[in-house]
């Protein structure tokens, strides 16, 4: 897998590179939005690992600008941020997953592999944000398929928020891992596309829209 790293801290990039360098091929790195957009578009990596916070615009800007030229690009967001605004903003911009920077190297490699294979990667924290965003039970939403999490999806999100891995979720719910991944991807798609009243209000509350 060819991976591109974006983080404004050179030390952190070096650390990540050293940790995952054996498992994946780190083909490039950048510390600013402009460098990152140019580098990713030039090198076409399999996965771009992008920091949520950058001085001149943040991961969201990078994702939006790259996707405008190369819609197939795959992003994994990596951040120390605790704020729902930042995290949900990069997910809605198009990142396929979010992990915190305290993640250990094998888990990070695993997350990179997952997004590369087309799955979504949810940390417990992101699962919590999602549940928060989709919470409430409004009658007659405009597009029920899109605007509400199914009860299965909610269950999956809850277990992930409780710290379960996909495999553990699968065992617990008597599903295959692939099915769990399908559910998570569906949640990700809903998060990116959903325009439900309450989610919109929730996002507007936090100045995401």
């Amino acid at each position: 897998m060819r991976v591109y790293l974006v983080d404004d801290h050179a030390l952190f990039r070096a650390g990540v590179k050293a940790e995952i360098g054996e498992a994946v091929d780190v083909i490039g790195e950048a510390g600013t939005v402009d460098d990152a957009v140019a580098g990713v578009l030039a090198m076409r990596p399999d996965v771009t690992v992008v920091d949520v916070h950058l001085p001149d615009g943040g991961g969201r800007t990078i994702i939006e600008r790259v996707l405008a030229h190369w819609p197939e690009a795959v992003f994994l967001a990596l951040s120390v941020s605790d704020s729902a605004e930042d995290v949900v903003a990069v997910i809605r911009a198009g990142a396929r997953g979010y992990v915190t920077k305290t993640i250990d190297a094998p888990a990070l490699v695993d997350a990179i592999r997952r997004v590369h294979e087309g799955d979504a990667v949810f940390s417990p924290r992101l699962a919590g944000f999602v549940l928060d965003a989709f919470s409430g039970h409004l009658p007659a939403p405009s597009d029920p398929d899109l605007d509400l999490l199914s009860s299965r999806e909610q269950e999956v999100m809850r277990l992930i928020a409780r710290g379960y891995t996909y495999r553990e979720v699968a065992t617990r719910l008597h599903l295959s891992v692939k099915t769990v991944e399908t559910h998570v991807s569906a949640v990700l798609r809903k998060l990116q596309l959903s325009n439900r009243h309450e989610l919109t209000a929730w996002a507007a509350d936090r100045r995401l829209l």
Partner: protein
Amino acid sequence: MTSGAPRAPFPAPSGPPASGRTSTPSRTPRSLRRAVTFPRRDDGRIVAGVAGGFADEYGVDPTLVRVLLVVLSLAAGTGLVLYALGIVLASEPTTSRPPRPTDPQRTLSVACVATGIVLLVRSTGLWLGDAVMVPLVAVAAGVVVLGLVRPDRPATPGVAANANGSAAVVELTSGRRARARLFAGAALVSFGLLVVGVREDASNGLRIGAFATALTVIGVAVLVGPWLARLAQEAAAERRERIRVEEREAMAAHLHDSVLQTLALIQRTADDPRRTVTLARQQERELREWLYGQGVARRTAGGVGPVGLAAALRGAVQDVESTYDVRIEAVVVGDAPLDPAMDALVAAAREACVNAAKHSGTDEISLYAEVRGTAAEVFVRDRGNGFDRAAVAPDRRGIAQSIEARLERVGGSARVETAAGEGTEWQLSVPVAAVPTAPSTAPPARRSEVP
């Protein structure tokens, strides 16, 4: 931010900043404009740059144009009318250099043109008689002179002028030229008022008296107005600057007390990895609370103030983390006001975390809390060595008392899933009070609002 707005993948190339004047659209209709298409001059102009612009456009000597205008002005003011037409019809100046108000040549020429206009008006029937117009003109001239009393703004007004709030005022009143202008203006205004007062006669004394009063008010306003405005402006700027400085100082003080101290400690204890990790974790948690939390960390003790379940759980988690040197990934969805049931839930969750920290053998614990409809649930999970519930002596107080009995007393329940070698998960639940007894004091749960 509108997600649906067309994206501009790259910022549009920002051209050279257009000068304000040239980009200002003129209100003159285009057809008229086409007939007289010469731009007024801004650089090296005398009054409004009409003569200069005309001369530039048609390649004649500007002095010739000006002399011609003056001569024509003597012929019943034709030159002045032409000049006024020029101002209206000619396009905006091509250069954006602002006129220099202190240019004596320009001031003189403006005075000449103004005098010309006054004389022209006097020769027509519009004159109200010298008795009224002479003082009026004097007052007008005084006001104009006063208007020229402007402090020469420094090149970067935002910085220099704000540095000292009273600088502009000092500038306004000091300086020989400024003071001379101030006195001249005041003298002219006073003269005008005096004349009006003296000329008072029986028939229209009242009217002139009112006129004089109005003039006095206007004169005072003209004299003092800019002063007051500037003073208010300076005060506001000073206040903004002070707030900014205070914020910066507060942040510097906080970083010094926390992050810098911790970094120094870490350097000294670099050979003790466990201590280093503990310090780093504590600092990270503290900084996070400061950055993303609601200011000072509110603890559960006392239960004073509008502390909700989420904040109380976070406080408990932080206590356990720093006491037992573990990392607890806490995710909280929703919130509820604290009541005895919630207090019990927090205490039980804390105990579950402590158990996991002490007995599980791992230092990674997950805590997930959700307020959903009628119940508040907390899950505390570790991937440690687990335990055999039957093997735990029934008199061990931790589980029996602190967790199960505590929740049962408030109508809740506690379940534990564990097996040797497979980790442990506590599932704690209490009912949420359906209707708060005192809704006015209870903070509403955020997600219970239905639009």
